[in-house]
């Protein structure tokens, strides 16, 4: 259908893209000039947010890559990850930020594993119960089911952990020591921000290695390309899809831990919107593309931080949601293959 579009509309697309990019550049430069220190501190915040979004976005992109399903419930799996983190870290292990680093760090890693295992298992269960029976149904059926699942998970979270905002610890502190590493323009950069990036990068590298160089990864790529052909080649398609959901869930669990450690509180309904941001990131990067998802997440994190933190001609936090969804719509309409995706006719 793309081919049927008149040529001039593609030229309009190109001009439009450059105008948007140029305006964005002017806005960034204007902000750097008007308040350089503020810009750097906002930049650091954006990188932290982007790292968290990246972990969630990868879950979307993995699942979409393999069964072409927008897993709306993914954001809520992430939310349950934040809740499990609260229960394990501050409830069972009693972390409250006052312990020494050699106690905190191993216990945080234990919590990380617990959250990853929980969310991975949950995601597999969701796939088994809700998506697998619909694999051959019309494509909108699993999509609608995913929306229903999302609402269901939100209410499960609310039923267990309550409808109110949940602080990570009773003192309102993070479980991670609130040490200030350095300050930019009076805004401290804390250890808890650094740990987000320090955990995200190895996880991303491990994931890329797993998908590119291991046998399960190869099976995933094969199933993503052609489910029937890979079944004929002896790949257990169901298991491979379940494995993909497990991976995506585990990443969401890790993101949940990092998010709640960074923000120090969570809510039962915060997963859906954050999930949509992450999905936007995945689309922006080119859905199905791992590097693209990470890059898109970084861009979305930066845009959110810029919009909420900068002051020179900035719409402000009232408009964050609209801006991110506008990006989503513009990317889907004008460049559905995303920043790094390949242009395929059936994507649009």
């Amino acid at each position: 259908m793309l081919a049927a579009l008149p040529r001039f509309s593609q030229q309009i697309n190109r001009v439009f893209t450059w105008v948007v990019v140029a305006l964005f550049g002017v806005w960034i430069v204007g902000n750097i000039l008007s308040a350089p220190e503020q810009f750097v501190s906002v930049l650091l915040l954006g990188i932290t947010l982007g790292a968290i979004y990246a972990l969630v976005a990868l879950g979307y992109t993995l699942v979409y890559g393999i069964i072409e399903l927008i897993n709306f419930a993914h954001g809520d799996v992430f939310m349950l990850g934040t809740m499990v983190t609260i229960t394990v870290a501050s409830g069972w292990l009693g972390l409250d930020g006052s312990q020494a680093w050699y106690i905190t760090i191993p216990l945080v890693l234990v919590t990380l594993l617990a959250a990853m295992a929980f969310c991975g298992g949950l995601n597999v269960a969701i796939e088994r119960i809700a998506y697998r029976p619909l694999r051959n149904a019309p494509k909108l059926a699993p999509l609608i089911t995913a929306i229903g699942m999302s609402f269901l998970l939100q209410n499960v979270g609310a039923a267990i952990w309550g409808f109110n905002e949940r602080p990570l610890t009773s003192t309102g502190e993070s479980i991670f020591p609130a040490n200030t590493l350095f300050s930019v323009g009076g805004v401290p950069y804390r250890a808890k921000s650094l740990i987000v990036v320090l955990i995200t990068i190895p996880v991303l590298l491990a994931l890329v290695y797993l998908v590119r160089n291991t046998k399960p990864g190869k099976a995933m790529r094969a199933v993503a390309q052609d489910m029937d052909a890979s079944r004929m080649m002896g790949i257990d398609v169901d298991r491979t899809i379940a494995f993909t959901f497990a991976l995506g869930g585990a990443l969401a669990g890790a993101a949940g831990l990092l998010f709640v450690m960074f923000q120090t509180s969570t809510r039962f309904d915060l997963g859906f919107q954050l999930g949509l941001y992450a999905f936007t990131a995945a689309v922006l990067g080119g859905i199905g593309n791992l590097t693209g998802a990470a890059l898109g997440a970084l861009v979305i994190g930066l845009i959110q931080a810029f919009n909420e933190g900068l002051s020179w001609h900035t719409p402000g936090s009232d408009w964050t949601e609209s801006i991110i969804f506008a990006i989503l719509i513009l990317v889907l309409v004008f460049r559905p293959q995303g920043l790094l995706g390949e242009a395929t006719a059936d994507r649009a």
């Binding site: 229903g148 209410n155 719509i329």
Partner: protein, 405 residues
């Protein structure tokens, strides 16, 4: 049933249109007189008893009509044309704000009255005739649907869903921030627009005494709103059925079943899909406008994603593509949403001696309904014949059609 009564012969001699219209006609006659026998039902059960809470009150019935209209509108988009729209609430908001702008004191230094009923000309602001506004709201929402649809409708099914979801989130936020659009207060932000002029018939009251000059003049205003809503439902139903059987309706079904084949047969894809959007939005806007007038206010908080999902849930529960199923789904779920779940919860707590707060979990229950329906009975409670065949064949014999292709 008729055969068992020994009426088989006589019944089959009744003309087919009459036979088909009989059940709906009986239901509608019963519905028209609902306000008059509502109190009889509750007093038969026991006024003020917990069980009597289960009987839908007349205000609940008004809301049910609103949601039935919306569900019928969304059914045009999702059920007929097979386009998943997750931002339907945007059209609802468009309709509600048409009422909010043109029948309140929002733009109060200006003082424009155009055939307004029941509003003294001393009250400032824009006051258009509310009946006219209902039509304007429908048309405005339809245009809005076209504006949203034109750039997005060439996207694939699931991408279209997410784009509409995006619009459904942007519109309420834009409305919420609308108290300062470049320094102008357009929507009054989170405080909303209130009071909105009531419906009424103005001087027509002098000729036909039954019609109040303004609904707030009469003690049973709610009943009048209910009858108005019911009339709108009947109008919507009529339109939906007629459009379904028209050339356009058959084109939608063709697109839904196989887009490429439909295009090859000469169905203009974009125009047909845009019409589906516009007509779906038309009814969404009308429902929004009517609801805003009924509760005399409109707030950005009324337009959350939850509404879109609830309406989608109604369409799925009732049966995508079947107007009667969708009416049933809309009525049942809006009843549950506004009264039923609380009443059921109270009854349960009363019997079991527990204290569950059931309405808190409304959307979880709706989510569960969606999941269970999609897994066990994807064709809905009252399936459309054609849709049923599609779903059954689609599941067993590979993809008969691909809604997203």
């Amino acid at each position: 049933m008729m055969e068992r009564l020994g009426l088989g012969d006589a019944w089959s001699r009744v003309p087919a249109p009459v036979r088909r219209a009989l059940l709906p006609a009986v239901v509608f006659v019963l519905l028209i007189f609902y306000p008059s026998y509502y109190s009889d039902i509750t007093s038969a059960i026991g006024t003020n008893s917990v069980e009597a809470q289960l009987v839908p009150t007349v205000p609940t019935m008004v809301i049910m009509t609103v949601y039935v209209i919306m569900a019928l509108g969304l059914n045009v988009v999702v059920g007929y044309a097979g386009l998943l729209d997750l931002g339907y609430v945007a059209f609802y908001a468009a309709g509600a704000y048409i009422a909010g702008w043109f029948a309140t004191q929002q733009f109060s230094p200006h003082n424009v009255h155009i055939v307004s009923v029941g509003v003294p000309s001393s009250i400032q602001g824009l006051h258009f005739n509310v009946w006219l506004l209902l039509i304007v709201a429908c048309v405005f929402a339809a245009l809005f649907g076209i504006v949203i649809g034109l750039p997005t409708l060439r996207l694939r099914g699931d991408y279209l869903a997410i784009v509409t979801l995006g619009f459904g989130e942007i519109v309420p936020q834009a409305v919420n921030n609308g108290d300062n659009w470049f320094g102008h207060n357009i929507t009054n932000g989170p405080n909303g627009l209130t009071p909105i002029d009531a419906l009424g018939f103005g001087s027509l009251h002098n000729e036909i005494g039954f019609l109040p000059s303004a609904y707030y003049d009469v003690t049973n205003a709610v009943s009048y709103y209910y009858w108005t809503g019911l009339a709108l439902v009947i109008f919507t139903l009529f339109c939906c059925i007629r459009i379904r059987d028209s050339r356009l309706g058959r084109a939608w079904v063709a697109i839904r079943e196989d887009e490429i084949a439909a295009a090859a047969m000469g169905v203009p894809l974009m125009r047909t899909k845009t019409w589906a959007y516009a007509i779906g939005a038309f009814f969404g806007g009308g429902a929004g406008c009517f609801y805003a007038i009924y509760k005399s206010s409109t707030f950005p908080g009324d337009f959350s994603l939850n509404i879109s999902i609830t309406v989608l849930c109604m369409v799925i529960l009732g049966g995508m593509g079947n107007v009667w199923g969708v009416c049933l789904g809309g009525a049942v779920l809006s009843y549950l949403n506004y009264q039923g779940l609380e009443a059921v919860g109270n009854n349960f707590n009363n019997v079991a001696g527990t204290s569950f707060n059931v309405p808190q979990y409304t959307y979880g229950i709706f989510g569960l309904i969606i999941v269970v329906m999609m897994l066990l009975r994807p064709q809905g409670l009252i399936p459309g014949q054609r849709r049923k065949v599609e779903l059954e064949l689609g599941v067993e014999g590979g993809s008969l059609y691909d809604a997203s292709a």
